[in-house]
């Protein structure tokens, strides 16, 4: 066999095959190594700026097993802390979200400002003179916090790269998402929180898989055809791009409606005229090329290792972490233009639920596929390898090839091989 042979990824240049060891999906030691070498070192999605719309807004969220308190100070600055009291460790904020200038630990009553400073502690006179002023009782901030076009990320490696360097060629795609409206973008109320009994990397693959739709989502496509005027005559056609650092994107045209701004007959003539106005505004503000991409192209964007932003029949933002090799927790949100007119918001969410999420006509079948893959890996001893070869060697891989997954696995292999004992053959 010629080609690159990593422990978990094997490329054979002669046979044009790209194989991934199924051990990567079942071994608890791999999951541990992933936390050490990937989740503890990469930039990870925390939240969207719109979720903390006003000064003093806050939310709590789990990121890479850590409890994070994401808050805006009175001056509007975004801050993120490890949600644990410096005294004995209790969560200082036990609410999902809200507005607060300070947080009081329920255990011994220490009070912290949303700037992270310890403001008050009962019995302060029993402590050393400068206990509070010295800062030793302040909340611990996350090592690194930054944003790209309103998407906030954290990095738990103080020596890691800047967010800009990390995102690299993926940045313009995140920026494009922020340009759908001159008013900016917002997360719509309501979070889809669910779990999948499979390895988390199966969801990374599935979220950027243009190959599975016809088979996995046959009933969704049937549905669109059944509903009168649910589709236009636009074949699925487009490209996959390796964006470096493990990031990748599919960009393609599709027959479904987009409230920004691809009309389908079901929406009627009045909406058609309004969507033409939406398109005209995009052209005027951004020029014809960007406007065309926003209006008529879908993008499935993977930010390594576990942020998916799929701008398809609606926009979903999705992130997920393994609890175990065969179990992940998923959080998914809907992103939409701010001040979107009522009908557009309504059609957008109708589109979203039609396909996406645990009650949609498509996602449950994705979940089924991933869980059945995981069951298949019980046969690991005899059936050892996954195949990710589709489109290998093509200069311009199609959206339904697997170049985007090879981009992910190449980065994954490179990072995981730095873990002790993981440089050897699987």
């Amino acid at each position: 066999m010629s080609g690159t042979n990593g422990a978990y990824v094997r490329i054979d240049e002669d046979l044009k095959t790209f194989k991934v060891s199924r051990r990567a999906f079942v071994d608890p030691a791999v999951t541990d190594a992933e936390y050490r070498e990937i989740f503890d070192k990469c930039w990870l999605y925390l939240g969207h700026e719109s979720e903390l719309d006003q000064p003093n807004d806050f939310l709590t969220r789990t990121v890479a097993r850590r409890n994070i308190l994401f808050a805006r100070q009175a001056d509007g600055e975004f801050r993120a802390y490890l949600n644990t009291c410096p005294h004995r460790g209790a969560s200082v904020c036990r609410e999902r979200s809200g507005s607060a200038k300070s947080f009081q630990c329920m255990y011994h009553g220490w009070v912290f400002g949303n700037d992270g400073r310890l403001k008050h502690l009962p019995g302060e006179d029993s402590y050393g003179e400068n206990f509070r002023e010295s800062g030793g009782g302040d909340l611990t901030p996350v090592p690194k916090l930054d944003n790209c076009a309103g998407f906030w990320f954290v990095c738990f490696d103080p020596d890691g790269p800047s967010l800009d360097d990390y995102l690299g060629a993926a940045m313009p795609y995140i920026e494009l998402l922020s340009l759908h409206s001159k008013h900016g973008m917002e997360i719509v109320g309501g979070t889809q929180e669910y779990a999948i009994r499979s390895n988390w990397k199966l969801l990374t693959e599935n979220s950027v898989d243009g190959y599975h739709a016809e088979s996995t989502h046959a009933t969704y496509l049937d549905y669109l055809m059944n509903v009168s005027g649910g589709l236009i005559k636009q074949p699925l056609v487009g490209r996959a791009f390796d964006l470096g650092n493990g990031h990748a994107v599919l960009e393609y045209k599709a027959p479904w409606g987009r409230t920004i701004a691809q009309w389908i007959p079901m929406w009627g003539e009045e909406v058609k005229a309004q969507l033409e106005d939406v398109k005209a505004e995009l052209v005027e503000r951004l020029g014809p090329d960007k406007a065309d991409r926003i209006a008529h192209y879908n993008r499935n964007l993977l930010i390594f290792p576990n942020l998916i932003v799929n701008d398809i029949m609606a926009i979903t933002v999705r992130t997920y972490y393994p609890d175990a090799p065969d179990f992940m927790n998923v959080n998914a949100w809907a992103l939409a233009p701010r001040r979107e007119v009522d009908w557009a918001r309504q059609y957008r969410l109708y589109n979203f639920l039609e396909f996406l999420g645990p009650g949609g006509f498509a996602t449950p079948d994705d979940v089924e596929a991933m869980e059945k893959c995981q069951m298949g890996y019980r046969n690991l001893k005899e059936a050892r390898w996954n195949d990710i070869s589709k489109g290998i060697g093509k200069a311009e891989p199609s959206f339904d090839d697997e170049a985007q997954m090879r981009a992910f696995w190449t980065e994954w292999q490179s990072r995981i091989s730095r873990a002790d004992g993981f440089g050897l053959a699987a």
Binding site: R96, V188, G189, G190, T191, Q192, E193, Y194, A195, I196, R197, T216, A218, T219, D222, Y223, N226, V227, F327, N329, W333, A334, D342, R345, Q346, L349, Y350, F352, L353, E354, G357, P358, G359, F361, T363, P364, D365, V367, E368, A369, E371, M375
Partner: protein, 162 residues
Amino acid sequence: MTFRLTRDEAEEFVFAEAEFLDDWDLEAWLDLFADDAVYNVPSTDLDKSAKAADNLFYIADDRTRLEERVTRLKKKTAHAEFPRSKTRHLVSNVRIRKIDDESATVTAAFATFRSKDGVTDTYIGSTRYKLVRPNGALKIAEKWCFLDMEGLRPQGRISILL
């Protein structure tokens, strides 16, 4: 004229509905819904007053999509439910909350069990029905399922009808 509904009738109606679902008699189940019915399952972090028009739900079906949901579930290519799971819908605490001229609001508590592939998942919540009588027979104009859970963990999907 005030809408007429007794507790017995309300209970019999929602118990029969549960049985249709557990028997996978989805056509009979769909027949219980009025022509302009809606079926909603909000996300678990939303208030009960949240509307599907501007909030992300798990399910927000109008009559058309509800029919399509049933059509889909009858196909072998509805992979999440092929082969079909076994379910049991337990319905309790049935109460008539409000009676208007043309409709009644009925609430109930539910625990639904879904078993497949060696795993039994439980869905817990309350249901709010708006019942009408378009041509005499009792029909569902609205069915809301409010999950008393912090998310769909570990269930992962609402591939069945709640």
